[in-house]
Amino acid sequence: MDKYEYIFVLQKQFKKDRITKVGVAGSGNLEVVIKPLNREQTTVIVYTAVTGFKSTWDEVIKRFIDEYPYAGLHIELHDAGAIPSVVSLRLRQAMETYQKGYHQKANYTEATARNRIYSLVDEDSFNEFLLDKDTPSPTLPQLNIQIESDDGVIIGTAQFNGTKVAIASQQKDFIGGSVGEVHGAKINGLTNYATKHQLPLILLIDSGGVRLQEANVGEIEISEIIRSILEARSAGVKTIGVVCGTNGAYGGMGIISGILDYLIVNQGARIGVSGAEVIQAVQGTEVLDSRDRPLVWRIYGGRTRYLQKAAQAYTSNKISDIRATIIDALQSLQKHPVLSLEQIQAEHKLLQKRIDAAKNCHEQGEWIAQYAPDLKQYDIFNCSDNQFLSLAQKGIHDD
């Protein structure tokens, strides 16, 4: 890990604004953190996982200061091997965001964790927790892996149509949205906060589960989150999971998605414990070819989970659709009873019914071919979202 420091004494002052974080400290990318600085200078500190490119950094940073010759900024870069043009782009985006606030995105899957929150919630309603306090992983530096100042999860409070919620968003491109010590502790702490203040809890899940580089501690954190969420539910907190990202919800995060009141999925969603690659590695390609994407989605995918009634709502990739679905969920959960033994007993019956109905099938496509030929003719895994929804809602459910 290399560290380079630059100090520029400059005349023009920049208007002070809130701490801004842009980009992701994932492979080929970088995180830019801008904090206001009460001096007639601007400092830039570069932390990079790629050693030996000081002259390139000198040039990129000089060019940046030529473009933005303003004092009053403290800028930190957490670089995970970005090329110079990406660095320049992120710096420019960070400056724009510092001045004008976060961009509203239209497409959920393409947005970063922070952009997802800012795009989904009521304007100016997001209050990020621990923003002024960097909380990177204490373990990654030993392994020479670039840290991210927020450890890959953004937490805070926000509003949906005026309803205040506690919300967390996982950074899919920072080590796969994985749960390490701090990442897990932030979700755990947010859950306790939701219980204390009686706020609905919304988790924007996009994760492969436990972070292998922090495997033991990540696993314990998952277990702690599970206990906190169940305590929250018993205390009346309503919990919503949004699994609409490219990593899905796997491993421990898959299990966490299963303990929530309400799950929102889309076509790209996947929920499971072990990924297809793991099953293939152990059982062989003849059991499961993980490159067979249609098959993988028939096993784990959002449409399968919705047909199984394992997910309560099905939506698209569009931020506006996901926002509307969350607002609907908050509305319908108001009347939803607090977690009780009766509810769990009812769930037991439903889950047993799912096993019985599966007969000897191994995946949703095989089941539909055998037991729902009507559905097969509509090509239910490839038709449009609207057609899928109308077929599913017409009651052609698999039970």
Partner: protein
């Protein structure tokens, strides 16, 4: 790996003065006594690959206790070699079946059953989350293998040199397998010899406040987890 595998029968007779149990779907269930104290027994047999059917079997017995208003402590005997790696279990939504079992155990805790896990032989991967880690107190027998993933697999997936992983794991409990590492992180409460278990179980059921999750605090106390407790406490203060 130790050569002396603990069998479920030797475990049961090592812990309980008397016991009545049955085995179905790799799940052992019933009741046992230590001196005059009655315990519920629910757990997995040796080398269980834990999937949908095992989770449902176990959930059924936990729910039965609630139905019968049984508030005796539940001993969760845990030997899991991993989650079941089958297409059928994943398609059915193994995550939801694990989650269901966790909800049942949560309800039992609220019903007044103390939950104590005894890990024997091994607990590997996500299957440890499915029930073993859900207890108020988690005991591992000495020589138990505890791992999310072995270092060889971790090196392969993370592309970090295995020698680097080995050298860091000399001082850091964060990723390397081992009961002592889990204890330093607060994830295991006690590491015991089998003959120490009965007395310890009797002690735990006398303790008040075992239903409060104290693992992040223990992780800080033992020095294995440097940040989690403080982050949680800071958020609690907001």
């Amino acid at each position: 790996m130790t050569n002396d595998k603990v069998t479920i029968n030797s475990l049961l007779s090592g812990i309980f003065s008397s016991h009545q149990t049955e085995i179905r779907n790799n799940v052992v269930f019933g009741s046992g006594k230590i001196q005059d104290t009655l315990f519920n027994i629910i757990g997995t047999v040796e080398d269980t690959s834990f999937g949908v059917d095992e989770a449902m079997e176990m959930a059924k017995h936990v729910l039965n206790l609630a139905k019968n208003n049984n508030k005796d402590p539940i001993i969760l005997l845990t030997d899991v070699i991993g989650q079941k790696l089958t297409v059928r279990d994943e398609w059915l939504g193994m995550y939801a079946y694990f989650a269901h079992l966790l909800k049942c155990l949560h309800a039992a805790r609220h019903n007044g059953n103390k939950l104590i896990s005894v890990i024997y032989n091994q607990a590997i991967g996500g299957s440890f989350i499915a029930f073993g880690m859900m207890a108020d107190r988690i005991i591992a027998l000495k020589d138990t293998q505890l791992a999310v993933m072995w270092l060889e697999g971790m090196a392969k997936v993370t592309k970090i040199d295995i020698e680097v992983l080995r050298s860091i794991s000399q001082t850091s409990p964060v990723f390397a397998p081992g009961v002592e590492n889990f204890k330093k992180l607060g994830g295991i409460h006690e590491v015991l010899e089998l003959n120490q278990v009965p007395e310890h179980l009797l002690k735990i059921i006398q303790e008040p406040d075992t239903a409060i999750d104290n693992r992040s605090q223990l992780g800080k106390y033992y020095g294995g987890r440097t940040m989690a407790y403080d982050v949680v406490e800071e958020l609690r203060g907001l």
